[in-house]
Symmetry: C2
Subunit: 311 residues, 2 copies
């Protein structure tokens, strides 16, 4: 079982839990564990005790629950809805991973997802809102206790909500401390291609901390205290990028919870750890490599990030 530092606080991850079937230019997965909450929770669990909120159906394999438990993830917030099947996504990555297409989508029980936090979860000091509907993200925020301690909230979103629910997204952004999105989403949300300018615009929309992810080109952090940029971990074999961004964000919230800090210095290191974690995620289908790698491998990649960036 993972041992956490003495400073560690609980982290809460809310998002989709899915069964994925993924085809890439080089291969394909069977029906495997997927969903933002799966990737983010497992990543988070390497750093801090993790609580997960999500919904699965009657078909959800016990082995996947075992996988979460092996990471010491608290599943009190994971609803098993016997009336339907688990959210299913099947997709295919295009040549050179230049994009992906959805082949089949079954929302199933996820369609009814209206996250209700177990009482104990309402005072979790570090919270990650996966890229679910902004209205549901707001619904979660409303359930979080602001006293005795205001929670630190990290939110993700994705292109669909930027176009489909802009008003609610704008409202959500005003209520969170940190936004983690990718370059395309940043462009869609701000109209600005220059990442430095986009980061500044996003901060004006609410979150005082913004991270723009650029995949193989690294990530940029925008904070009241300044700007920080980090390259990607130098992977040589991309197997499946699914979940990279989710595990990246999960590692950030976990690392911050572990240190019980959200200052610029802690955030920079969180991005370096997140980069290390995401590099593992893409080296296999599903959560396999992420889950099996272990903390020592993550620490080693973190040290590599120092080595390859310092001059």
């Amino acid at each position: 079982m993972q041992r956490y530092p003495l400073s560690a606080k609980y982290a809460l991850v809310i998002g989709s839990v899915a069964i994925d079937k993924v085809a890439t230019p080089d291969g394909q997965s069977g029906k495997v564990l997927g969903g933002a909450a799966s990737y983010a929770s497992i990543a988070c669990s390497y750093f801090a005790p993790t609580r997960m909120v999500g919904i699965v159906g009657s078909d959800f394999p016990e082995a996947h629950l075992e996988r979460y438990r092996s990471h010491n993830i608290d599943l009190d917030g994971l609803v098993v809805d016997p009336s339907g099947k688990t959210f299913f996504w099947s997709g295919r990555y295009r040549d050179n991973f230049s994009g992906r297409d959805t082949l089949e989508l079954g929302l199933n029980v996820f369609e009814k997802f209206s996250p209700t936090l177990p009482t104990a979860y309402r005072s979790t000091p570090f919270v990650m809102l996966g890229a679910i509907q902004p209205s549901l993200q707001l619904h979660v925020i409303d359930q979080l206790l602001k006293k005795p301690r205001k929670p630190f909230i990290l939110a993700d979103t994705f292109d669909h909500w930027i176009t489909a629910a802009p008003a609610e997204l704008a409202k959500m952004m005003k209520k969170v401390d940190m936004l983690v999105i990718n370059e395309d989403e940043s462009l869609l949300l701000t109209g600005e291609r220059n990442v430095v300018n986009a980061g500044a615009l996003l901060r004006k929309m609410g979150p005082k901390i913004v991270v723009i992810k650029k995949g193989a080109n690294g990530a940029a952090l925008f904070h009241t205290a300044g700007y920080f940029a980090i390259p990607a971990y130098p992977i040589t074999k991309l197997v499946d990028p699914t979940g990279a961004g989710d595990s990246f964000a999960g590692a950030i919230i976990g690392y911050l919870a572990a240190l019980n800090r959200t200052d610029f210095s802690a955030l920079k290191r969180a991005l370096a750890y997140a980069t290390a974690v995401a590099s593992l995620t893409v080296e296999s289908f599903s959560v396999d490599r992420l889950s099996d790698a272990g903390k020592a491998t993550i620490d080693q990649r973190y040290r590599t990030m120092i080595d390859i960036t310092r001059f």
Copy 2:
């Protein structure tokens, strides 16, 4: 006049000198100073005493020569050919700087360019070969004295030579110490999209040191001693990217000459300085910002590069 460190050796820059006319989505230059040798020599001159080899025609304005001289650039290798006009290039950048098209090209006296090094230049210890024909790059290499000291040679190339003169390019690559090319050229030359793998392949083609430039996404360095990655300087206003890569390479050769070192540590710092220098180049048309900024501004941006990458 620039003062150089005691360790500084001469650097030699060979390449095109041009009159450019550039249109961008936001504006356009008049007829201005351009050419790889102009950008690279001025960048280089901030770090080490610089010699330039190139050719211009009867129309080349005295003011441009004055510009070089103000940077203490030795012009003994700059041929003024009265029989024709200076190399002229007019181009237009597409929306969002997503590419550029040549509107007008007049090789003029550059067509006859067959660089003959002044005797004193043949023993220059640090040499940058701009992206001229590989056969001319080889012609320059043949003129360099290997004794008492083997020169350190950095070469650039561009997509045209990769497709038009692959055999000569391959021969050239075997004779240089360092190759600096951009991501698209790297893909064209290796067929490999993964930059980490491409760098390894390029090293197998000859140069023991390889830099792959990624524009706004920074650059990667491949060296016998390891891998290094650096993000771009966070510019907020791109005016004209012309010459960014040339000034980047020029700064590298200049910095190495200044230290009289080519080890991994020196190269990492050279990339940080090159990043700082290239960020200035793109903030104006022509060499204006690069030339006017001064060493103190470059040093300041170098320190910013440390600040924004260290964690």
